[in-house]
């Protein structure tokens, strides 16, 4: 039986690389959809608002773990045999779009009503108002909560392990299965997650303070 040694740790590091890859992928793709969700949530049309609200409720009311299973098996019954990475990315994208979309909706709505009205009085179209007046201000407000949310993304990629994607947690499970040293193994896994997440947390808190001072 192999002992937990440098080889095992390197294997964990490989897993960590995939954790980061999946995190970046889901942040980038999820952000696009989150932006759409945020815009739909404040749309002028009541139907669009209602549909997007139901979407957000449904995704926020389902555990990410179940989303992973549904997207993975759902693709399978469509007849496409997809790699676990694709299934995990789809589930993470759904998750990010609903949660980050709500965060960004908050940022958009925190722009004072008068800014929207003034822009309208100047004869801006809806698109121009968004592009030139609201977004530049809202983006600034949304940066600290978005950074804080990145920690959630990194942590939640651990759930991709249940559909067999070998990221950090799954790598930890594999190492544990061969070494039977759960304490060392999962402590290393936890330490690696901490090493990734803690700096992001500190960064987010720093940004929050900075923003509050400016305001």
């Amino acid at each position: 039986m192999p002992e937990f040694g440098p080889n095992q740790f390197v294997f964990l590091l490989h897993g960590a690389v995939w954790t980061i890859a999946l995190s970046v992928l889901s942040l980038v793709i999820g952000a696009v959809f989150a932006f759409v969700v945020a815009l739909c949530r404040i749309s002028g049309s009541r139907t669009v608002r209602a549909i997007s609200a139901i979407y957000v409720q449904a995704i926020q009311g389902t555990p990410l773990m179940v989303l992973m299973l549904i997207s993975y098996f759902g693709l399978n019954i469509l007849g496409v045999d997809v790699p676990a990475l694709v299934g995990a990315t789809i589930a993470m994208t759904l998750y990010v779009s609903a949660f980050l979309g709500e965060v960004w909706r908050g940022s958009l709505l925190s722009i004072p009503r008068t800014q929207w009205e003034a822009s309208e009085c100047l004869g801006h179209s809806r698109a121009a108002r968004m592009r030139h007046i609201i977004l530049p201000q809202a983006v600034k407000i949304s940066i600290p909560p978005t950074v804080t949310f990145m920690v959630q993304i990194v942590k939640n990629t651990s759930l991709a392990s249940i559909i067999g994607f070998v990221e950090l947690t799954q790598a930890g499970k594999l190492v544990n299965n061969s070494t039977f040293q759960p304490f060392v193994c999962f402590l290393c896994v936890a330490a690696l997650y901490f090493a990734v997440c803690y700096p992001i947390s500190l960064w987010g808190r720093h940004l929050e303070k900075q923003y509050n001072v400016v305001r």
């Binding site: 179940v66 942590k155 936890a190």
Partner: protein
């Protein structure tokens, strides 16, 4: 699409799903209560404790908040059994979830405590209230009232997070879903139903906590308003 949906498994398996639903509720209810108590203790320690206590509270919160729940659950489950301590799965799950939600509660309640204006505490001191009276009546009660909406969201997320314990074979909703799936091979339908159950549960839990808030805080102050 050649696939045909088949929900006939529901006829045989719905009592098990209901059982899983119940276990999910029991697990999240118990961890919420325990986590809340940890949170209050942690928040008071990190605000009024000795420097050492503050340090401990800080490390606890940061370590828990910057590692995934799944890894915490594995660490506790496999770790405890490797040192010869074998607890039932349900107990392990509740301990792991309580430790996890305790850290989030600590952070939220601490924010509430910090939002109490110093003048309130000074006024209470002038009235001759004791230290414990001040912490309980002047600081903690209004602080909890203010952060109650944030706590509610966190506890709904906790209820969803109990699904993680299916990985240590707890037979809560997701765990039951896994079992039914392995017997019927109707994975998509099974997890679809499980998802609907969770959505319903999250609405129920949210409504329940909202009602509890109305009862517990009759004055209903809003977050950020001055006392």
């Amino acid at each position: 699409m050649a696939y045909e949906f088949d929900f006939s498994f529901l006829a045989d398996h719905w009592p098990r799903l209901l059982q899983g639903l119940w276990l999910t509720l029991a697990m999240s209810g118990l961890s919420t209560v325990l986590g809340f108590l940890i949170g209050v203790t942690g928040a008071i320690a990190s605000r009024y404790g000795s420097p050492a206590a503050r340090r401990v509270a800080y490390v606890y919160v940061e370590v828990v908040r910057n590692t995934p729940l799944l890894v915490q659950v594995f660490l506790l489950y496999f770790g405890l059994s490797s040192i010869g301590l074998r607890l039932p799965v349900f107990a392990t799950a509740v301990i792991a979830l309580s430790i996890n939600i305790g850290a989030y509660s600590t952070e939220i309640i601490r924010a509430g405590i910090e939002s109490i204006a110093p003048g309130q505490i000074e006024a209470a001191e002038c009235l001759g209230m004791s230290q414990s009276q001040i912490i309980l009546r002047i600081v903690l009660q209004p602080a909890l009232e203010r952060v109650f909406p944030a706590l509610t969201s966190q506890y709904v997320l906790l209820m969803l997070a109990t699904s993680v314990t299916s990985q240590i074979s707890a037979e809560e909703l997701t765990g039951i879903g896994n079992l039914i799936q392995s017997e019927t091979f109707r994975s998509f339908e099974v997890y679809g139903i499980v998802a609907l159950c969770y959505i319903a549960l999250s609405l129920v839990v949210r409504a329940g906590l909202f009602g509890f808030g109305l009862l517990a805080f009759p004055r209903r102050r809003r977050l950020g308003t001055d006392l």
